[in-house]
Assembly symmetry: C2
Homo-oligomer: 253 residues x 2
């Protein structure tokens, strides 16, 4: 049965998309079938991989009769994508105007995909939105990338609260599979202190940090994953390590 | 008449809050009366300055009878703030359910403040949201902080489209007062190329870059502006320069 993980953090620029893309690509490189879903109107997943969907997540959510196959785009061996673009912002308004079950629309639309993919990765946007609630109601696990700075640290509390709300109000339990420190720079005290704080709080669920690396920022400009663009870089090493740990982790019970 | 500027970019983590807080503080330091409004459910403005409003922007927008004075909190000499917190996410749903004029609620609520402040700065969240439409319908100008990386660069197109939509569909013209490159690091080619690209496109409207500086990331952890925390740092120099240029720019015609 498939593992579905949402990459979540309402704080902007904490490395969600970079993590979603490279996690999905790294898992696919190991031969598993992976679906990567862009749940953010910025459409950075498609941008990072050099693809545009004719039809997007917006259509799946809002237009009657759209099936997952209508919006799925194969992008690499073993890696398929559902893209998003600015029209997804209209999906948020559409969802807000539904009276009941507005958090389950994605789950319902994806039901026909049962078992097709071994891993489903959802790249969430920086918001407390109904779209993200839909992603969380569909996912079984969450990975939280946290940049190593103060404002991202304060944002972690809100992420945990979001998960608790999904549990309590929507009756859907999402397992916190891990917290990933990003933009780590061992030379700056703020970053080291951020990792210490996260480590004290999350203990064994803290993943090894992803180091700040210009290669990670350059890869999307070449429409490549870090493994394609700079396979020997620290960014590739760090994400390879993340993939290995994530795949070897037990799926949620 | 007051100048109202929205700090806008739907891309996450491009330095919007850091710019909003230090721009507002720098202008107030020159003796002007400034109101800084947090339009983001993350509430990072209050966090960065060490304050919490009992009542927030949510109350002003959603609760009948709330006036600006009920939610304004004086935080420094010449600097007042309207804070936000996670309840603001509920305001988005509230706005989505209004049939007409859902972009003008903020403007209507703020009407009684006419002339009280010489500058009003609005810190927008990373989204294409009705809340941001409200901020833009209230503002007369926009400053766009853009981090010096590829994904932020592709996001600029969307910001310009957002401004055009406000103009065409909501009949409200917002002047693009400037684009501010952030997280600039002269040693990385990606950053230099990003500034070149922005310069080619925006020409004289491009502000001097704000350099990446750990002090800027540390300041909020001390609940201080950069001018309080590290007045001699490059971060303080860069934002002082930005304030000087912004204040000396002609207000929109
Ligand atoms: N470890 C890293 N080192 C250097 N640059 C990075 C790193 N991780 C991500 N980046 C770059 O930093 C920027 C922000 O990262 P990214 O877009 O992945 O964050 P995000 O959380 O998805 O942002 P948003 O909140 O806007 O969705 C991007 O330009 C990305 O390429
Ligand atoms: N020039 C800089 N150098 C170093 N750190 C910075 C700089 N500017 C901002 N930061 C830090 O980077 C992080 C992101 O900046 P900030 O929160 O201001 O961006 P934002 O665009 O408001 O993010 P969001 O999209 O989540 O609202 C913060 O921790 C901030 O303190
Ligand atoms: Mg992203
Ligand atoms: Mg912000």
């Amino acid at each position: 049965r498939s593992r579905r993980v949402a990459i979540l953090n309402q704080k902007g620029g904490t490395g969600k998309t970079t993590t979603a893309v490279n996690l999905a690509a790294g898992i696919a490189d190991r031969g598993y079938d992976v679906l990567l879903i862009d749940v953010d109107a910025q459409g950075n997943v498609g941008t990072s991989l050099g693809i545009r969907g004719e039809r997007t997540l917006y259509h799946l959510l809002v237009e009657e009769g759209t099936t997952p196959d209508d919006v799925i785009v194969p992008v690499r061996g073993h890696l398929d994508v559902i893209t998003a673009d600015a029209t997804l912002a209209l999906a948020e308004v559409f969802l807000a105007r539904i009276d009941t079950g507005r958090d389950r629309i994605l789950r319902d639309r994806m039901a026909s995909l049962r078992g097709k993919y071994q891993y489903i990765v959802l790249d969430c946007g920086p918001s407390l939105s109904l779209l993200n609630q839909n992603a969380l109601s569909f996912a079984d696990e969450v990975l939280i990338p946290v940049s190593c700075d103060y404002l991202a640290l304060v944002g972690v509390k809100q992420v945990l609260k979001t998960l608790k709300d999904i549990d309590q109000h929507l009756g859907h339990t999402v397992k916190l599979s891990g917290v990933v420190p990003t933009f780590f720079d061992a030379r700056t005290r703020l970053a080291r202190e951020a990792v210490d704080t996260l480590s004290g709080h999350f203990k064994e669920r803290l993943y090894e940090p992803i180091r700040r690396s210009t290669r990670l920022a350059e890869a999307p400009s070449h429409r490549q994953t870090i493994f394609e663009y700079a396979p020997d870089s620290s960014g590739a090493d760090d994400y390879r390590r993340l993939v290995a740990r994530y795949v070897s982790n037990a799926a949620p019970v």
